[in-house]
Every structure is written in structure tokens, then in C-alpha cells.
Amino acid sequence: MLLIVCPYCGKRPEIEFSYGGQAHIARPLQPSQLDDEAWAEFLYMRANTKGVYAERWRHSRGCGRFFNALRDTTTDHFLAFYESGEARPGLPATAAPTAAPERKT
């Protein structure tokens, strides 16, 4: 079970959360302006990254808030947690095999 650091509540076990898929995919502001291909790209196409992946989580059995995380899909180690709407943070220099990192303050 993953240990996830909710930016608002702190470290909690995975069972308190629901997964929200790939992060940083904004719904187009004017969908009617898109052709079918561009709309399908938004609707269906997702990365299947081997390595560091930006993804959404929701603390659904806690505060209810959505937030984003960087997770290395090869190790399941989290590299960062950050609020929805924030830019994807840069990677730390080394990813030490420790428990989930504390949220930056």
C-alpha cells in the first residue's frame, strides 16, 4: 500500500485516496473550436510513462481535495506532491529509496 502525502492533511495510506489519472490535461476552454482529432486527443489519449509520471490523486476519504504527484512508475516512489494548478516541479537531484518524501513547505 502506497504512502501518500496529501498537501492538505499529510501522510496517509493509499486506501484513503482515489486515483485520478494523468495530471496537467486541461479541458479545452472552447471545445466547439476543436476538430474531432484534437477533441479525441484530449478525451482519450494518455501517456503510459515508464519513469516519472505526473498524476492526479484525490483524498476522497479525507479532505476531498484533488492534488498532483510525481511518481516513478518503475519503483512506485513519489518524488513530489503539489497542489492542482501548480506547475509541475523540477526533479530532485537524487531519488533516494526512502519512504514517501515530506511535502515541501
Binding site: 502506497l2 471545445p31 466547439s32 484533488f66 492542482s84 514517501a100
Partner: protein, 997 residues
């Protein structure tokens, strides 16, 4: 003492406490401290099992959890019958009853042994090759036969009467394994104040030290050092000691599953005693001190009862005071087995020879053996063994210059083998750590860690006791959050032990013996099976594993994996690390379902949600159905009515007079804020800005792919406030979807969402007389036809309780839905029911609700829709807000395929035979008399008998359905086609006069 094989003294058993037990119906005596295996061996019993495939006689081979052969069923009573327990792990208690498995009629005479003679028909992958022909024989003959023969042990048929506990725990350092490395690690970590959990799968801490006969630590014997160290740890309040506790799984972020056996070792657990406890431990750091498993040797006839691992014989002698035989031959590639030989000889066992696989046997231990007069034969190999139910001779060969020479037959009743040790890297590998091949040890050892984890001692190939203790102490010290800068040091006196681990088959003469050489004892995989697999083209060890099933038995190949890999590597002419290792998976040893379920069984399996009128409905004899977690009254039978009659009566009552229905399970979400209307506009397909306060509207929610996700009546209860209802099952996912858009797409909107499902009781009062019933009960709202038309919403009081009153209908009749705070629900229900009696009010359930709504063609999301239905498919285009630039799903509805005339439309289906009720899910065709594969154009989604209309009704999704009105279609069923006519989905009061009454 009746047993000839128990020593007079020594070991950790209590000879003053005899224990009676039975094995296969025969009574034996053991002593306190025995395992079932040691007690059987003390009685001279080696034959304990028949093998899985060939039914060969098998004996106890090991002394720990790696035992591949001696699987037994332990029986307390009909519900407490546990199959496939390793006799080496079953602690003896007074009256223990155990039985062998996989044999008929008895262990010493087993008919299944014929498989051994027929083994030519059971090569590797035989189940992919045989039983293929004739095809019809599969169901009638092969499958029943295979089902009877397959499997190990039998599951109990009674429900499990025991209770299982579960516990979460956090610690700084979790130490897995309480041998010398684990104890040293725990001492070092605890010394700096860490919270430590130390667990071991056996009943007693100490591991190999419990059977250690010579070495001393700080001047103490091994067992004395264990006792004093464990006492030190036990006094530390920050240390938790868990014996009989197996770490069975290592999950991400240092989450480790432990299973603690609480009562299986007790003769009579007290009432309420938990049987097992599942620990879910989150550790800041983990020290793995899992030890190593002795590696068996692969030679012809290596599976006869009486052939054991040398270290197991050492453990049985020194820990349990049991001699495993009277005359032993020892076959080894390392010095450890010499210590076994010396100890056995000292205990009065004759040691016929030590056959050393090494070309030379020199050093302290071989010299000591020779000094004791034991014949040492360097450069040996094994060419075969003899004996049926027990080994009685072994044939040794000599390897000279790469050639195997002649045989020397030696009589014996015991063969003890040692091919060195295999580090237990199971948990390390589960943690996703990288394994590295160590050529000197001929084993994989832990490389880079993936988690905050350290391996210590034998599980990383460190074997000498002094090194093991130092390694454990260093790991424990480093694992502590406040690293211990002066870890304990230990002064060890021990004889030097050298050894070469051996891999793969022992050298054989040409041609080799016809006898089977086993690699995987538990799954009966021989060297020939592995060679056949590579000859047939399998190259990946993962494929060989699945094809031959090597390493796939309940022991997960603890004793077999490395030998199998080496044999495959040799067949492929590849280096061992190139062939690689198969994945280690949890659980390390089998874990009961009971411990996983914990208290989540029976009534506690799932939470139950009940409405405020649940007790009232129960009192009326309602029949309930599960809808999600809710219990809903399905119908209210009177005077022994069946469902059909009850539903017919309830429907008639609603259509002719008045019905009352508990709709409290409807999901309710309060949408509040200055931007509430804009939020609803962007989300739902309908137009909300134009909806006035005090009015409601049937809302439809799509996903962005354009398909219907949920529906429900939405009321505007203020300029900034909407009361949104959802389907009963859809409430959580609708709220989650709303939150997703609110938080991540439109954070600029000022709007708040609150689930109010359980705050409101909802009482539907439906039927032509419903206004008559409510008139005198409602205060503050004029519910007259003109003042309170269809889809009105008002705030007032009913029976003194505050109410949000809806004029809505899911029945097609004049109707109201009374929302009151849930605590008032029952009182209001009873008051309305009381007032309604003079008007013929009738309680009705979900089944009647379904019939009434289907008569009106109202859809149920999830029944008449399936995630591929658009509003237009369902005939709901009228609900779309026409002038909205966007809403969720709008862009997808513009795709050409969403407007195709061939899309499936929701239509009515009327059977030509009015009494015939179609089956929901039945397919629809436009051609009669088709044979499979048929051309199908749709399916039936809802189907009921309508007592009001006097004929059956059905809804269905049919390709181009609205262009087929009046056409005859066919529903193919096993008895032939059923004819149906395509109609409008609205069967009852299509003009809607009644609803607006």
C-alpha cells in the same frame, strides 16, 4: 519413552511432558516442544506423504518452512480442518490429529503410484498435450477424472468458526527473522531508542543458534546468548517481539504483511480466542534477516523417505533430541554437514561414510571426522539409491579426471545431503530490490535496494557466525532513525567451516540411471522435464517454469529454484545469471483467507444502509432487495401473495387511488454559491439560468464522451442554491465528478457541494388522490393545481416537520415527493399513511415503481442505458439547453457517428402474445428464423407484466428504432423466435394529462 529415536537428554524439548497424537489414525507419543515432524521422526516415521503427480512415497526432508514433502491435514473438528500444513511447522499439542494427503487407500499402499510407472505419459506440459482427443471425452471423462486427481489436500466443508484479528502497526525498524543476525540487529536498533518489531516464523527465537552445538558468543552457548538477548529486548517497552509470525509479503513504501498464529499450537483454544492476527506494518526501515535454506542435491532416486537435508538432521538432533536414523550416509559439498556427522556419531548414530563432492576434503571439520573414525570419500558422486517406503542403500561413484567411475553400494537407512546454502531473498525481491549473481556463493544475493531496507546475515550470503552477528548489528544500528554509532560487538568462538555450494545435477556415468532425479519435490519436476522443455524450444526461465510447473507449488520453489535454473542454463549452454531467476511473489508461505477477511464476514461483510421507514416496512412483511448498500422494500405481500400478485395490486392502487413509497435512497447533493447556476449550466445538458426559484427540472449529466452518466430531478431552491437528486447508486460518483470539475477545471467558480443524501427522508405520495391526502397535512404551501403545478417546489411544514415539497412524478400520476429531515421521516410517513387510509393509500416497493415508470417510458440509468447511450438515443433531446455554448459532453455529441441514423434508439417493444414477458437482456433481430451466428440489432433493457394495461411491456435499444415504429421484430430464444412490435416507449397516458391533474 516408547520411541527409540529420542536421545536421552539434550535439545529444547521437555521429555517430562509427553503428548499423545495421532497420524493417519495411529496413536503416537511426542513431547512438549516437538513439531509434528520431529515427533514422527522420534517414532521412526519418515513416510508422511505421497508426491503430487507420481504418488511416490515421500518423507520429511527439511526442518523448517521450506519443507516440500510433508504436507499434512490437521483436524480439530469439521470446521477446523486445515490442509497442506507443513509438518515441520505444526507444533505438537496433546491430542493433535493429523492425516496424510494425496493417497488412497493408504500411505503405504497407494493406487495412484501407478502414475510413477506411467510417467512416460506425464512429461512436462502433459496437460497441454494429452486429453485432447476425442473432443467429446473432455466433459464426460477427462475433466471429472482430472478434477478428482488434481489438487493437494481438501478444503473443509463447514464454515470457519474461528475469529481472526487485524492490526496496523508503525515502527522505526522492522526486523524479519530472529536468528543471530536478526537478534543482533534488534539489539543494535533498540539500543538507540528506536521502536522495533522483531518477528520470526517459528515458536522460539534463535534460528540456527537453537541447534548450535559448539560455538560460543561472549563465552555463552548459542542458546544462552539467545535467552539473555531476548530477555534484554523483552524488557524494552519500545520493542515488540512476535513469535509464530511470518512476514509473508513486502509491499511498496515499506509496508509489510505479517501473519501471527495465535492458537493453532494450543490443545484447546479458549472460547473467543483469535486464531490468527494479520499485522499490516509500516516501517521506517526494514532489516531482513531471513536466513538461508540448505540446497538439496539432484541425483537419481533423491526423493526416498529417509533422505533429508543434512542441516535438518542437525536441527532434529540438537533442537528436538531426535536421531533421524540409525545408519547414515552424508553427501555434501561443504563442511557444515561434517558437524552434523560428528554430532550424530556422538549421539550414537552410525555414520557409514561422508561422500564429499569436493576433490579434496581438508580443514578442521574433515580432520575431526577422520579422527572420529568416519570414512571420508572426497571426489564422490551419487549414482542411485534403493528402497521403497524408506531408503536402504546408496550407490556412490567416484569422479576422477572428469570421469565417473564405478559404484560403491553402501547400506544405510538415512541419506543426508547438503549442497550448501541458498540465501532467502524472497522478501528482498518482493520489495523490488535488484538481485545480483555471486559466483563464489553460486547464489543470487541482494544488490541495490528499492526501499529503505537492509539485508543482514545469511540472507545476503554471510554465513560465518561472527560475521553474521557483526552484519546484523551494523544493519540494525544504521537502520535506526538516530543511527547507533557504537553497535554491540560480539566475541565468537567457532570452528572454521568451508564449503562450495553445489548447483545442478551431480556427475553421472554414461548412460545415466533410469531413476528419476527430482529438482522440485513438491511438484514432481525432474531433471528430464526441464531438459525436455529446453529441447522443445523454451528458453526463458519464466516459460520453463510455467511449462514444467517447477517452483510453482505451495513452497514456491524454496529448495528447487536455483537447481532448476542451473539445469536449464546448462541445457541452453548459457551462464546462470543470463538465464535469470523467476519472480518471487507473496505470500512467502500460504496465508489463510480468514486472516485476510478478518471481521469482514457475515453481517459485517459490507455496511448496510437502511431508510427511516425500514422498521415499518419490516413490520409489514416487506420483501427487501439490495441496491448498492441500501436495503429497499421491493414489494409488500399481503395474505401470502406472490410478487406478481402484490405488484399488480400495488400498481392498480397507485393508478386508481394513491400509493406511498420510500424514495429516501435517492442521492442528494446541495449545490450552493453565487456561481451555482453557472456551474450547473456547464455540467448538466439542461439550461439552468432560466429555471426560476421554486421550480424543478429533469436533469441529465453526461461524461465528456457524450454518454449519459446520471439523471435526476434538480430543484432551484434559491438564486444561489440547487437541490440535485441523483440515482440511488450514482450519488458518490456524481459528487466525485462534480468535485473534479469544480476543483480542477473551474476553480474560478464560487460554488460548494455537499452530500445531503442521508439528511433527508423522501416520501413519494403518488396517484390521483395524492393531493387529497396531503392537503390537510401541509402548512405554508398552497398545493392546489394552479398554485403548485407539475415540477413545483415549495418550503413549508408537513405534520409539523419542516419540508421541502416537490410536485414530481416517476409514475405518470399526479404526485408529490415530501422531503423532511431524516429524523422526522418515520413520523411523517405514519401520519400520511394514517390520513391516506380513507382514500385507499397503499404502500408500494421498488418493483411497482419500476413497472409504473416503464409504463411511462421513463429510463433507469444503468438499466436502459449502458454507457454508450446519448440523450438522443434515449429520446431525451428535448432536455438539452439549446443556446448553451458548451456543457460536459456537448462536443462529443457533435461527432458524425453520434448523429448516425443507425444508432440504437430506446423504443417500446410489445409482444404479439400479450401474456408473454420478454427476458431483460434478450437480443433483438429483424429477420426471423436465424441460426447462430445471428445478425442482431438490439436488446431488451426493461420488461414487465403491466396489470393496468393488461399486457406485457418492454423497453429496448434497437438500431434505428424510431424509424421502425410498427415494424415486427424477433427476439430469438431457445424455444424459437418471439414476435414483437416496435412502439413508442410511452405505453400509458402519452398525452400526460394525469401528471398535470
Amino acid at each position: 519413552m516408547s520411541s527409540d529415536f529420542r536421545t536421552a537428554s539434550g535439545g529444547r524439548v521437555d521429555r517430562a511432558q509427553p503428548l499423545r497424537f495421532t497420524f493417519d489414525g495411529k496413536s503416537y507419543q511426542g513431547v512438549a516442544g516437538d513439531t509434528l515432524a520431529s515427533a514422527l521422526l522420534a517414532n521412526g516415521v519418515h513416510l508422511t506423504a505421497r508426491s503430487f503427480k507420481y504418488h511416490r512415497p515421500r518423507g520429511i526432508m527439511a526442518a523448517g518452512s521450506e519443507e516440500p514433502n510433508a504436507l499434512v491435514t490437521v483436524i480439530r473438528d469439521a470446521g477446523r480442518t486445515t490442509p497442506n500444513l507443513r509438518a515441520t511447522q505444526v507444533e505438537l499439542y496433546e491430542g493433535l490429529t493429523a492425516e496424510s494427503q494425496n493417497r488412497w487407500p493408504s500411505l503405504s499402499f497407494d493406487v495412484g503410484r501407478i502414475n510413477d510407472r506411467l510417467s512416460a505419459f506425464f512429461p512436462a506440459g502433459f496437460y497441454y498435450k494429452t486429453f485432447m482427443w476425442p473432443r467429446k471425452a473432455w466433459k464426460a471423462f477427462y475433466e471429472p477424472m482430472i478434477r478428482r486427481a488434481a489438487g493437494l489436500g481438501k478444503a473443509p466443508v463447514q464454515p470457519d468458526p474461528d475469529r481472526y484479528a487485524q492490526r496496523y502497526a508503525h515502527c522505526d525498524v522492522l526486523v524479519v527473522g530472529a536468528g543471530p543476525a536478526g537478534i543482533a540487529a534488534a539489539l543494535a536498533a533498540a539500543a538507540s531508542g528506536s521502536r522495533v518489531i522483531l518477528c520470526d516464523e517459528t515458536a522460539e527465537f534463535g534460528g540456527s543458534l537453537l541447534g548450535e552445538s559448539r560455538a560460543t558468543i561472549d563465552g555463552q552457548s548459542g542458546s544462552d546468548w539467545v535467552a539473555s538477548s531476548v530477555a534484554t529486548l523483552a524488557q524494552n517497552a519500545r520493542v515488540t517481539l512476535l513469535a509464530r509470525t511470518t512476514a509473508f509479503g513486502y509491499f511498496p513504501h515499506n509496508f509489510v504483511g505479517l501473519i501471527e498464529r495465535l492458537s493453532d499450537h494450543l490443545p484447546a483454544p479458549y472460547k473467543g480466542q483469535r486464531r490468527e492476527r494479520l499485522w499490516q506494518v509500516r516501517a521506517r526501515a526494514v532489516v531482513l534477516a531471513a536466513g538461508a535454506i540448505e540446497r538439496p542435491l539432484v541425483f537419481p532416486g533423491n526423493d526416498r523417505p529417509g533422505i533429508l537435508l543434512a542441516g535438518a538432521a542437525h536441527t532434529y538432533l540438537n533442537r528436538y533430541g531426535v536421531r533421524v536414523g540409525t545408519r547414515a550416509v552424508i553427501v555434501t559439498s561443504c563442511d557444515d554437514a561434517y558437524q552434523t556427522a560428528l554430532d550424530l556419531k556422538a549421539a550414537g548414530v552410525s555414520v557409514a561414510a561422508i561422500a564429499d563432492l569436493r576433490a579434496e576434503a581438508t580443514g578442521a571439520l574433515p580432520d575431526a571426522a577422520r579422527h572420529q573414525g568416519i570414512e571420508v570419500l572426497p571426489g564422490s558422486t551419487v549414482l542411485g539409491t534403493e528402497g521403497n517406503l524408506r531408503v536402504h542403500a546408496i550407490t556412490l561413484g567416484r569422479v576422477r579426471g572428469g570421469q565417473v567411475q564405478g559404484g560403491q553400494r553402501v547400506d544405510c537407512d538415512t541419506v543426508l545431503m547438503s549442497g550448501g546454502f541458498t540465501p532467502s531473498v524472497h522478501l528482498f525481491s518482493q520489495s523490488r530490490g535488484k538481485l545480483e549473481w555471486n559466483e563464489a556463493l553460486k547464489a543470487f544475493v541482494p544488490g541495490a535496494s528499492a526501499e529503505c531496507e537492509r539485508s543482514a546475515g545469511a540472507c545476503r550470503g554471510v554465513y560465518a557466525l561472527a560475521d553474521v552477528l557483526a552484519d546484523g548489528a551494523a544493519c540494525g544500528a544504521a537502520a535506526a532513525p538516530e543511527p547507533n554509532r557504537s553497535p554491540p560487538r560480539f566475541s565468537v568462538q567457532a570452528i572454521e567451516r568451508r564449503g562450495d555450494a553445489h548447483l545442478g545435477v551431480l556427475p553421472q556415468s554414461v548412460p545415466p540411471s533410469d531413476e528419476k532425479s527430482f529438482v522440485d519435490w513438491q511438484h514432481d519436476v525432474t531433471i528430464r522435464d526441464l531438459q525436455l522443455a529446453t529441447r522443445e524450444g523454451f528458453q526463458s526461465i519464466e516459460h520453463v517454469k510455467r511449462y514444467t510447473t517447477t517452483g510453482m507449488a505451495t513452497d514456491q520453489g524454496k529448495t528447487s529454484n536455483l537447481n532448476a535454473m542451473a539445469i536449464v542454463a546448462k541445457s541452453l549452454d548459457a551462464a546462470v545469471p543470463q538465464v535469470g531467476l523467476t519472480t518471487f511473489r507473496m505470500p512467502y508461505t500460504p496465508v489463510t483467507f480468514g486472516s485476510m477477511a478478518g471481521i469482514s464476514r457475515g453481517d459485517l461483510f459490507d455496511p448496510v444502509r437502511t431508510t427511516p421507514t425500514h422498521g415499518w416496512a419490516q413490520g409489514r412483511g416487506a420483501v427487501f432487495e439490495n441496491v448498492g448498500l441500501w436495503k429497499r422494500a421491493r414489494y409488500f405481500p399481503r395474505d401470502g401473495e406472490h410478487m406478481h400478485a402484490a405488484v399488480a395490486r400495488e400498481c392498480l392502487a397507485v393508478r386508481s387511488a394513491c400509493g406511498i413509497f420510500d424514495a429516501s435512497t435517492l442521492g442528494k447533493i446541495e449545490v450552493v454559491g453565487p456561481d451555482a447556476a453557472e456551474f450547473m449550466n456547464r455540467l448538466y445538458i439542461n439550461s439552468w439560468t432560466s429555471l426560476g426559484v421554486g421550480r424543478s427540472r429533469y436533469g441529465i449529466l453526461l461524461r465528456d464522451d457524450g454518454f449519459i452518466y446520471d439523471d435526476g430531478v434538480v430543484a432551484r431552491t434559491g438564486t444561489d442554491r440547487f437541490h440535485v437528486t441523483t440515482t440511488t447508486g450514482g450519488a458518490p460518483r456524481v459528487l466525485a465528478m462534480m468535485e473534479d470539475y469544480r476543483q480542477t477545471e473551474w476553480p474560478d467558480l464560487e460554488v460548494w457541494l455537499t452530500s445531503t443524501t442521508e439528511q433527508w427522508a423522501v416520501i413519494a405520495v403518488q396517484g390521483p388522490k395524492s393531493r387529497l391526502v396531503l392537503e390537510s397535512l401541509v402548512e405554508g404551501i398552497d398545493i392546489g393545481a394552479a398554485a403548485f403545478p407539475h415540477m413545483s417546489v415549495g418550503r413549508g411544514r408537513i405534520c409539523g416537520a419542516p419540508t421541502l415539497l416537490f410536485r414530481v412524478s416517476f409514475t405518470g400520476e399526479l404526485g408529490f415527493e415530501i422531503n423532511v429531515p431524516a429524523d422526522f421521516g418515520l413520523a411523517v410517513w405514519e401520519a400520511v399513511y394514517g390520513r391516506g387510509r380513507e382514500h385507499g393509500i397503499t404502500e408500494y416497493g421498488t418493483e411497482t415503481m419500476h413497472v409504473l415508470r416503464a409504463e411511462k417510458g421513463y429510463i433507469i440509468v444503468g438499466q436502459d442505458t449502458d454507457g454508450t447511450v446519448t440523450p438522443d438515443d434515449a429520446g431525451l433531446t428535448w432536455a438539452i439547453g439549446k443556446n448553451k455554448p458548451d456543457y460536459v459532453g456537448k462536443r462529443s455529441l457533435d461527432r458524425a457517428s453520434m448523429k448516425s441514423p443507425d444508432r440504437k434508439h430506446l423504443v417500446g417493444l410489445r409482444t404479439k402474445d400479450p401474456r408473454l414477458v420478454l427476458e431483460e437482456g434478450a437480443q433483438v433481430a429483424d429477420k426471423a428464423g436465424q441460426k447462430p451466428p445471428m445478425e442482431l440489432i438490439g436488446h431488451v433493457t426493461s420488461s414487465y407484466a403491466s396489470s393496468v394495461l393488461g399486457h406485457s411491456i418492454a423497453l429496448g435499444l434497437v438500431a434505428g428504432g424510431r424509424n421502425r415504429l410498427g415494424q415486427t421484430l424477433y427476439v430469438p430464444m431457445p424455444g424459437g423466435d418471439l414476435e414483437v412490435e416496435v412502439t413508442s416507449p410511452v405505453f400509458y397516458d402519452p398525452a400526460g394529462a394525469r401528471i398535470n391533474a
